[in-house]
Assembly symmetry: C2
Homo-oligomer: 377 residues x 2
C-alpha cells in the first residue's frame, strides 16, 4: 500500500493560524526580553476565579473581569507552572505551524516527558495540562479551537443550510436520517456558510427527539436548522450556533427536558458558564429563547403524572441553587422555577410520546410557535 | 407558520415492515386462538440466560441456544409480563403501521399507563419495558431496529463509499471534517450502498483518533472506510459494519486502546455479547481483525512508560476475566493478554502522539498493514 502523504493543509497557514501564532511568539518574545535584561521573567494571566467573574445583565453574558495574576520563573511555587505554560504554548505553535489539529488528550501526551537526569515529569496527569491550556487561552485571548485543539465530536445537524467543511460542500437538506456530524472545530477557515434559507435554529437536548423531528421533516416545514448536542452541547455545536447567530442573524430556540439540568443547558448556551467565562464572548447566544418543556406545560398539555417523575432531594437542591443565580432573576424565570418546585415533578420531552408518537412535531412545537408568550427569555 | 405534514414515509409500508408486522400479528393470532378454545394462553420465549448461550467456535460468534420458557396468562407470577409483552408488541405494530421510528425511552412512555379503576401501572420503569422488548425481539426473531426502535445516534463515518439514506445521496468522500453521522437504524430499506471502492473498514474506538486519521486523509490513501463509535460502538455502527462485511465483502480492522476495555470492544464487535446473543447473527463480524494497540507494541514502538499508565486492581481483574472467556482461548490471544498482565501497563492510542502528531497515520498503521502477522484474529 502507498505511504500516507502529508496532510493536505500542511504548510498553507491561514489568516487565523498566522494571527494566533503571532500572539504565541509575542508571549515568548516578551519573556525572552526580560531574560536578556536579567530580570525575573513573568507572565500575566487573567484570573479565572469566581471572584473575577461577573454577570453582564445588559449583554446577558457571564464574563471575566480584569484581574490578573503574575506567574514568575524565580519563585518556588510558580516555576513549574511557568515552564508548563511554555511547553503547552510550544505544542500549540507546532500544531499551527503544521496545520494539524488534535485533542486535549493528545496535547497531554505531546507535552509530557521526564526531565533529563531527573525523575521529575513535566506533567503528572491531564487535568494539569488542561488547566495550563485554559491559562494560555485567556492569556493570548484565543479559544482552544483557534489553537488547533478540539474537544469531543458530538452532535448532528440537518436543515435549510448548505455549508463548506474543509473544502467539501455539505447540503444539510440532504443528509438522510443520520445528519451531518458537527465537527469540534468550526472556525471560519474550516467551516463556511454558503446558502442559508432558515429563520431560526432549534437546538434539541436529546438525539432521540432530534431524530423524531428529522423524520417528520420539521425543519423543512418550519424553515429551520435542527441541531442536537447529545445532552450538554459540546463546544463545536455551541460555537457553530454562535456563528449562525452573529453572522447570519438566526434566532435560537432551546428545547430541553423540564428538570434543573435542562434549565442549566439553556443557561450555558445563552450566557456561558462560570468556569469558562472567558469564552462567553465567542460561544454564548444571549438572544436564545427557552421553548420548553416548561413546568407550566403540565396543565397546558395535561401531562401524565407519576411517582417515577418525582424530583429527588438532589434535584430540589439543584433547582434552588439555579433559582439563586443572577442570570435567572427575571420574574418569568423565578415563576418557572417556583412552579417546578411546586410540581415536585420532572418531565422529559419523551413524555409527549405518551399522547401520540408525533405529538411533539404536530402539536407541541406548533403550539409554542403560535404562543410566543409561553417562551422564556 | 404552516402546520407540519404527516411524515413522508407514513402509509408506504416497505417489505421489512410488512414481514415483521406479519410476525407480530401471528403472535397475537396464536394467543387469540387459545382463548377461543378456552385454553390458558401461552407464549414461548427463547431463554436469554447464560445457561442458554454458547460460543460457536467454528463460526466465531456467541449464539443463543434452543431453550424456551412458557409465559402463560393464568399464572400469578406471569400474567403481568404476559400483558406487558402484548402492550409492547402493539406499540411496535403501531410504529410499523405508521412508518415511524422511535427510541426505547419513547416506547416506555407509549406503553406506560395506569390501569383503569386501579392504582396499578402497566410498567413501573424503563428497565421493565426494555426487558420485555428483548423478549419480543427473540420471540419474533427480529432486531429492535426492525421493530422501528432505535438506540443512540453515535459514531461518524468518512471514506470511499457513497450510500443512500432515506432517499438522500451521501458521498462519504466529501463529508468534511465532521463526517456522516451514522444513524441508529441502517436496515436496507433506510440505507442502501451505492458505490463502494474500499477494501476494508477501519473501526476506531475514539473520535479523537478518527479525526486525526480523517485530517490526514488516511482513508483516501488506503482505500478504506473510516468509522468511529465513540467508545463501544452503538448498534447502528455495528449493524452497518456487519452489512458492509456480508453484502460487500469488506474486511474489518478494529483499532482500540491497549486495555481490557479495548479487548472487550473488539470481542463484542467480532462475536457479539452474552446479553444480546440472539442478535449476533445480524450484528457480529466474525472475520474482524485486531490491529492494535497490542501489549507487544510497547517494545516494537518503544512506548513511553509511566506510573500513570499502571493498571489498577480493577483492570487486572478484568483482564484475567477476559483471559478466561472461551472466545479468547486462541494461543495468540492468551499471549497477548499475558503480556498485558506482565507489562502491568495500559496504553492509549494517544500515547503515539508523544512521538509525532501524525505518527499514527504515517508510521503505526502503515507498519501494521505491512506486518499482518502482528495483527490478532
Amino acid at each position: 500500500m502507498p505511504s500516507v502523504r502529508k496532510a493536505k493543509s500542511e504548510g498553507t497557514k491561514n489568516v487565523r493560524a498566522r494571527h494566533v501564532t503571532r500572539k504565541l511568539v509575542e508571549l515568548g518574545g516578551s519573556v525572552l526580553e526580560e531574560v536578556r535584561k536579567e530580570r525575573n521573567p513573568k507572565l500575566y494571566i487573567p484570573q479565572r476565579a469566581l471572584s473575577n467573574v461577573r454577570f453582564n445583565a445588559k449583554q446577558s453574558i457571564i464574563e471575566l473581569g480584569k484581574d490578573r495574576q503574575a506567574r514568575s520563573f524565580f519563585n518556588v511555587g510558580m516555576s513549574k507552572k511557568f515552564m508548563q505554560t511554555f511547553l503547552v504554548a510550544q505544542a500549540c505553535k507546532q500544531l499551527l505551524d503544521e496545520g494539524k489539529t488534535t485533542s486535549i488528550r493528545d496535547l497531554y501526551y505531546m507535552v509530557k516527558h521526564t526531565i533529563a537526569d531527573s525523575k521529575v515529569n513535566t506533567f503528572e496527569d491531564q487535568p494539569e495540562s488542561d488547566a495550563i491550556l485554559e491559562d494560555l487561552e485567556v492569556t493570548v485571548d484565543s479559544l482552544r479551537e483557534e489553537l488547533n485543539l478540539f474537544a469531543s465530536n458530538r452532535g448532528a445537524m440537518v436543515g435549510n443550510v448548505t455549508l463548506t467543511d474543509s473544502g467539501d460542500t455539505i447540503d444539510c437538506r440532504r443528509m438522510g436520517s443520520g445528519g451531518y456530524s458537527v465537527p469540534s472545530i468550526v472556525e471560519p477557515d474550516v467551516v463556511q456558510f454558503n446558502k442559508i434559507n432558515a429563520d431560526f435554529i432549534l437546538l434539541v437536548e436529546k438525539d432521540a427527539v432530534w431524530r423524531r423531528l428529522n423524520e417528520d421533516r420539521f425543519w423543512q416545514e418550519y424553515r429551520c436548522i435542527l441541531v442536537h448536542g447529545g445532552g450538554m452541547p459540546p463546544r463545536g455545536v455551541r460555537r457553530l450556533i454562535h456563528r449562525f447567530m452573529s453572522e447570519a442573524g438566526l434566532k435560537l430556540y432551546v428545547f430541553v427536558d423540564n428538570d434543573p439540568w435542562g434549565y442549566y443547558i439553556y443557561s450555558v448556551v445563552k450566557q456561558g458558564s462560570i468556569n469558562l467565562a472567558y469564552e462567553s464572548i465567542r460561544m454564548a447566544v444571549p438572544t436564545a429563547k427557552f421553548i420548553g418543556l416548561s413546568a407550566f406545560d403540565r396543565e397546558r398539555f395535561d401531562l401524565p403524572e407519576d411517582d417515577k417523575l418525582k424530583m429527588t432531594e438532589q434535584d430540589l437542591a439543584r433547582a434552588r441553587q439555579i433559582q439563586a443565580y443572577p442570570w435567572f432573576q427575571k420574574k418569568t424565570w423565578q415563576r418557572e422555577i417556583q412552579k417546578m418546585l411546586e410540581n415536585g415533578l420532572k418531565f422529559e420531552i419523551e413524555v409527549l410520546s405518551g399522547k401520540r408518537i408525533s405529538f411533539v412535531t404536530e402539536d407541541y412545537l406548533p403550539h409554542k410557535f403560535s404562543h410566543p408568550e409561553e417562551m422564556l427569555d
